[in-house]
Symmetry: C2
Subunit: 314 residues, 2 copies
């Protein structure tokens, strides 16, 4: 029922803020016709300013053939904005009553075969879709700030969402140059924000206790875990660092460290089941590659990151 993701040529974005404007810029840069709905005309300048900023980076990353800011239409008419939409990315204010009212209208106005995705970071689609006639095609499509630059989009439905809509959204985001992550469950904060929030709360604890300043926190991150994490996630970082033994060695050897006071966060019990999930998950990512090859690739990418940042600072 949904169109082929590759056949989509028109996208509608809702919202004039950094997220809504960032999405409009992203879709323009990938060569789509974009209709951007804004709440009222006073938001036009703000929207253009976001796109101005984003366009510099998007150009540096490489525009798709035919991509043009001339393919943007801005309107305050919601019905006109969504009447022929093939995909809608909603980035309205983060207030439940606003989103619920908006989705009730969107489900009446937009073609049934058009998936509607919300950029919300704090609400669930089960809440947002409450008053929709057609909740089946409503999903979360949560980007990471700045949305025109970071590839991640977390995709998950609500109770009334059909699986086909989630799968379609993930496939479409991939065609549109993003890296979708389909979540297993509708959890508060999704995956990426939960990881970031854990780190953030520990950072606040350290500042509260006089153990570190904000400057210390940022220096530690930028010069320690972050350049590696951009090349290799934390699971594979441990897997590869443990050589032949991989994640199994990490958990069997350093498992007791989960009880150590290395953060204020309590670790889960390291059950056999959790151990096996971690080990099997890392083996699946490695897909037969030898750890020395993965370490060499990690090093090439860290070198590239460090050299790139150094050059960008000069």
């Amino acid at each position: 029922m949904y169109p082929e993701p590759e056949s989509v040529t028109r996208v509608t974005t809702l919202g004039a803020g950094p997220i809504g404007g960032g999405w409009a810029a992203h879709f323009l840069a990938r060569g789509y016709d974009v209709t951007a709905w804004i709440h009222d005309d006073s938001e036009r300048d703000a929207l253009n300013a976001v796109i101005d900023t984003a366009w510099i980076s998007l150009t540096a990353l490489g525009l798709a053939p035919g991509a043009s800011r001339g393919r943007l239409t801005v309107t305050t008419d919601l019905a006109a904005a969504v009447r022929e939409a093939q995909f809608i990315q909603e980035s309205a204010p983060e207030r439940l009553e606003i989103k619920q009212a908006l989705y009730a209208r969107l489900c009446q106005l937009a073609p049934r075969a058009c998936v509607i995705a919300s950029s919300t970071s704090g609400l669930t689609m089960s809440q947002i879709q409450r008053d929709c006639m057609t909740p089946q095609r409503t999903v979360i499509g949560h980007p990471f700030n700045p949305p025109y630059l970071l590839p991640l989009v977390e995709v998950v439905g609500g109770k009334g969402t059909e699986k086909a809509a989630v799968d379609w959204a993930a496939a479409f985001y991939r065609v549109a140059g993003k890296v979708p992550l389909v979540l297993k469950k509708e959890i508060p904060g999704f995956v990426a924000t939960r990881l970031q929030e854990a780190l953030w709360r520990e950072a606040l604890h350290m500042v509260a206790n006089g153990e570190a300043t904000p400057d210390d926190i940022d220096i530690a991150l930028m010069n320690g875990p972050a350049p590696r994490m951009a090349a290799q996630g934390q699971c594979m970082a441990f897997h590869v660092a443990c050589g032949e033994g991989g994640m199994a060695t990490n958990l069997d050897q350093f498992g007791p460290a989960l009880k150590w006071p290395w953060t204020r966060l309590e670790a889960p019990e390291l059950t056999q089941e959790l151990r096996d999930r971690m080990v099997e998950g890392c083996n699946a990512i490695a897909a037969g590659r030898h750890f020395t090859d993965m370490a060499a690739q990690r090093d090439r990418e860290i070198v590239a990151v460090l050299n790139a940042i150094r050059a960008a600072r000069q």
Copy 2:
């Protein structure tokens, strides 16, 4: 009493593992004469293998004038290794009794003006230096894996360490091409590992609860927070994302989110004092720069990181 950090030409590294070998490679690449002490001759091949691997990346980052692997001396004679050392980087096995015995000997054998730094991630210098004659010059100098690539070195003394030794080590690491972070307190896990550990424990919770696989975790990190965090730490990421209001807006507006179940980690109470420390800390880092300039610089660096990783994967 300690030499000028710029005058150091000879460094002794202790240990043949990935950390000890990584340090030897780093110092060679920065143009030092390096004496690497290994426990016995059977470790010689392992040490060389680590340096072989590291040298590829160090060459790609750029060697210092005169840097040469020919300036490496490997020995199993501890007294000979440290007799004329100007700085010692110790990366012996992570067992307290081994380190305590080693430091007792090092303090007898090494010149008094030679600072001795430990790569330990899990022990404190107050524990390690217990049996030293001259604990004043013993410090933690904790690198991040891989130590030949990631710039961070966390520096902190133990109860018997003098401030001059901590300051000297930080100054020397900076001269030697690292980014030192002098810690305010001797806390378990130091700063960077605590931040990473909080994130890691939340990741394990999500895998234990069937909310994410290891692959999901890594995809989320690599395509979400990490490329930005390599350019901008989490404090400044929030400060800049909140525009004119900066960190004050972040905490005043999103402070209640610290109570939300966005991670299993409990946040500290957001007292006025903690709020002010965060705000003042971020203002100090910004040093008068406008948020739009900082956002533009962030974007340039994220673009560079994304393009660099893409190129390194092709």
